[in-house]
Symmetry: D2
Subunit: 346 residues, 4 copies
């Protein structure tokens, strides 16, 4: 519980920006959202009106530079993240930024250096760390309930692929979708990944392949502490959002299932069944989004370390670049190779 | 979704009053809570302060009579419910009232007549009807997914008994605890109960028996449409709140399980296990409390019938009186007997 | 494991007689089935042929009196059980007899007295006691894993009613079907039942009502040790055999689910589901039938007490008579009433 | 159901040989086991005596050459399999042989050629294909219940590693343990694997590493039809045998869980839990062993194709060799490489 108040501005009034704004306004009483900015004025206006936010702008820098705003929530398009982080840090604002920071390591490093210099707090939007199921798995690992971890497995499937226009600019499956799983892998195991190997294909929609991306992937991970990991992705699970993990170790295993809208079990002449899982991230991760923005506010107000740092934002990008390189070259790739040569050979 | 605004007052700043006030303030943007009243001034003050409610009183009638208040939420002690309903109806306010309306049928009937005369809306606080699991069961019955219902079973166990001082004034297990299950029985089956038979005992705490109450009960129900029902109650389940139902019919069966804080499954050298269910009603029924107060606001703003009526508030009291009489006399009791002679023979 | 050999005869070559014969021949190497008798000669012949049983008769007494036969397995129709028990006891044979011993208490008592005099072993065919799920529940009660038991619940539903001709001679739901649940209740709680109360109806097939029986029932039980129990029966669950129990106590609860042909879980665009439970008792209780006949052989060969005694065979009949009387008279019935006046009044 | 009779001989009276002999004798009435051979005479004697098998030998060829024996069941050590297959084929006997046929491809090919020439039936002992859970998954794939398969995942963990002496001669994890999973992968997907990539380590017991083997592995598979697969192995799961699969496809997913000795769920003050899964393959795969030997008998008596052929026995060995090579060389390995150069480079 925070007891002091905090004034924030939100940049980007798309789905996720509106969600964060709403949580700040309705769920976290000690905060005040003073301004929302979006390049589409109508979007900013609509958000401001429905939530009672007093100021609106089409210029993100209006948020960054507003003297009464203490913290900014960056939900604009990925290509603007790094510049806005640098600007906000330069203005002495604390920063919550959606993932990924950027798709280029030098750009990320520039942004993180600015944050470092400004000594402001930076939290990256890996909301799944705040999900009750995954928290419980992490707790089991920390408490030693599964002994020494040996293997990790992450199932992560979306109910449907994004629009093909989005696919083209998203950075691809590994930097747009798997990036959440890369973060989850680091979070659950509590160690860094050293190498990845990717197998992938276009099984869901040929248009995704034509756009240069894949829609189905199996990525294996080798952690520095010897743990072996697997991530299984698909852009389309017809039964809805499929988000499960398992950590197996010397003392046992812990695994999670999907969350459902209800737990009613119906038996009739045909089968014993339940309704489909919660459909997508807005339903499944509702509570985790509230928890993460609450944690951000708490970190500032009570001067605690942000729970998902700039380093946490950078590492999954390295993993995503390595995963893509592994796929392109059909071989295991050490993350050190990406660090040494961040852009693909070519 | 409500689009118009509504101004409310809350009477009673105990746990449940604070909960309703909080949901109105934080979760339902179109509402405004203008005043909170409690006989304990400090309680009203604390609630007002934490939620930004402008007015406070120690007099419930100050809420009822405030000209700007359109609806009242009655969360004071049971013995005040009927009088406050009458007063609020007399003042033309819409009314949300916690269960039970009263423990005496003539008193209830007086209050309901006042509501009828005033043509205001009255909703009784049977929140479990708004729980996603039970909703799904009701939907299955309505949709015919289980065919014609034959039997109903309700498991309802609390994690621990209330303080013995509360037990003495609560009206006893059947009117304090089973009353929720009586409502659930009517809701799920969609028919009235004609007769009950109670077996019960003192198994949890002898002090409950010394106070003239029981702590463990099995109540069987015969519905007007022939359905047979069973309710199983205990004041103490060491594993936490146990709230499950099953409806069995000609076309199948539907049943619900408890809700859990997470779905992680841990396998170690001893067992395959999960954490305990959500501990009690504040955790288990969080969403249902939000849903019910939302439904109340919606009923007023959009002039729909209240989803849990005065009749719905009265019927479970009749069932509770009959259940107790059955226990006292060791025989099945028809509800018509209670209607004919509402006070126990003696 | 039995190490000595045992020679048996089987009386009755219907479904259950064939099953026992098959298990003795194929699963229990130390036994030899010397003769099978059935009033329908072809049935006896067919069983003998398929299992390699050397002798066949249409006269049950041929089995009872054969000098080389040490034990008889009585699977003929219920009305023959008591006489065959007396005859077998008189001939010094150990006896396995399907339930019920008889539907009349004096008849049962006569048979049990003969067994007592002859000092032979008698085991009654309550096979469900040998099911792994129910065994585990009993073990939990014995071990104190649920503390002191407070309530018991048994769900017992058949996939479909028997032929109406069978219904007419079966003794009715309570003596034909519920009798298994009465035995289970005594077994799980480890105490005697003092009183029952029955609610029941004809919901599955009017022809069952026309035959003077019911097809759906809820029977509540009061045990001598204060435990309260509920049994829920239906002659037709469209999803198959439904056999579940729960014991709740001061230290927790233990419950069982149905058994399934496989545990595969299928998620598609409509639901998350599994195949229907094992269809009926031949599938569900396969292992328990092997276990019970094995236990009978073991009791003889190693001279241990039979695990389900004559007393265990008699008590559920008393409960069944009381349950029917409760239904007929619409009131709770103490078992002592049935003992005092075993035949219905009137 | 077989209606004709078949006379068999069993070679090898170790655990698995005794199991097959017992099933043939006790569960499959139409068969006769005429002889059991084992290099340890006492082992052969004990098996013969307990099952009533008339003849015993210390010479496997005595079984192969016995004129009355129509089929042999080869359960001796792996290094003898290929020679015995050739001998049995030469003698015109049908052959059931435990996996693996051999660890060398030329040896395997020699044995399979002999079978081909003799036109006898050969079935390899991949018993898991006859497990009800995996059968259901295969059926779902064949029926199109999950649409077009995209990914496959197999979890396969033993409760404890074998003795280190066995590890040294077993062929290693990939040819001794993963070989079952390689077969399962081909069976479930219904396609051939083209390439594998192995990550593995020694996490369970350093002695296994000192013996040149690994005890933990993640093997990824690329099938000819584009499906991607993952196999996760451990030599020690402290909670017992862990055998689960999932097939995900365009139309949904199907997955299996472990099997348990009972399904009782115990809730107490600490957790909601169940007993550990069936401990190891003798408990978990009991029914599948009966089914597989039954299928072998059926294939001969009714002249159907053997359900697990010589090709099915060879392919997993290729995969195992490839998996090991991948581990040794830290790169994906195409199966064609192993075919081209069956022995490791060196």
């Amino acid at each position: 519980m925070t007891t002091q108040s905090l004034t924030l501005g939100v940049i980007g009034a798309g789905r996720i920006g509106r969600l964060h704004a709403q949580h700040l306004v309705q769920r976290i009483p000690q905060t005040r959202v003073l301004m929302v900015a979006d390049v589409v004025e109508a979007a900013a206006q609509a958000t401001a009106q429905s939530l009672g936010i007093p100021h609106v702008s089409t210029d993100p820098l209006a948020v960054v530079q507003h003297p009464n705003i203490q913290a900014v929530v960056i939900c604009s398009s990925t290509d603007t993240h790094a510049d806005l982080i640098e600007a906000a840090a330069g203005a002495g604002k604390h920063i919550f930024c959606e993932k990924p920071i950027a798709l280029s390591l030098p750009t990320i490093d520039g942004a993180l250096a600015a944050v470092e210099r400004a000594r402001v707090k930076l939290q990256i939007g890996f909301n799944r760390r705040f999900d009750a199921n995954f928290r419980r798995v992490r707790q089991a690992v920390v408490n030693g309930e599964v002994g020494q971890p040996h293997t990790l497995r992450i199932i992560s499937r979306d109910p449907a692929p994004p629009p093909i226009e989005y696919v083209k600019v998203s950075g691809g499956l590994f930097l747009d979708m798997t990036i959440h799983d890369f973060d989850m892998a680091r979070y659950l195991v509590g160690a860094e990944v050293e190498a990845v190997y990717t197998q992938a294909g276009v099984m869901v929609d040929p248009a995704i392949g034509e756009a240069g991306d894949v829609d189905t992937a199996v990525v294996t991970l080798r952690f520095a502490n010897g743990v072996l990991g697997t991530i299984e992705n698909s852009r389309r699970a017809v039964y809805g959002y499929d988000q499960r993990v398992e950590v197996f170790g010397s003392g046992g295993a812990i695994r999670t299932d999907n969350d459902y809208p209800n737990n009613a079990l119906l038996s009739d002449a045909h089968s014993v069944r339940r309704d489909l899982p919660l459909h997508f991230f807005m339903e499944r991760y509702t509570a985790s989004f509230v928890n993460e923005i609450n944690a951000f506010v708490d970190a500032i107000v009570n001067d605690r370390p942000a729970p998902v740092t700039g380093v946490d934002g950078r590492a999954p990008v390295v993993m995503g670049l390595a995963a893509r390189r592994s796929y392109d070259e059909g071989r295991p790739v050490r993350l050190a190779e990406v660090e040494a040569q961040p852009t693909p050979r070519g």
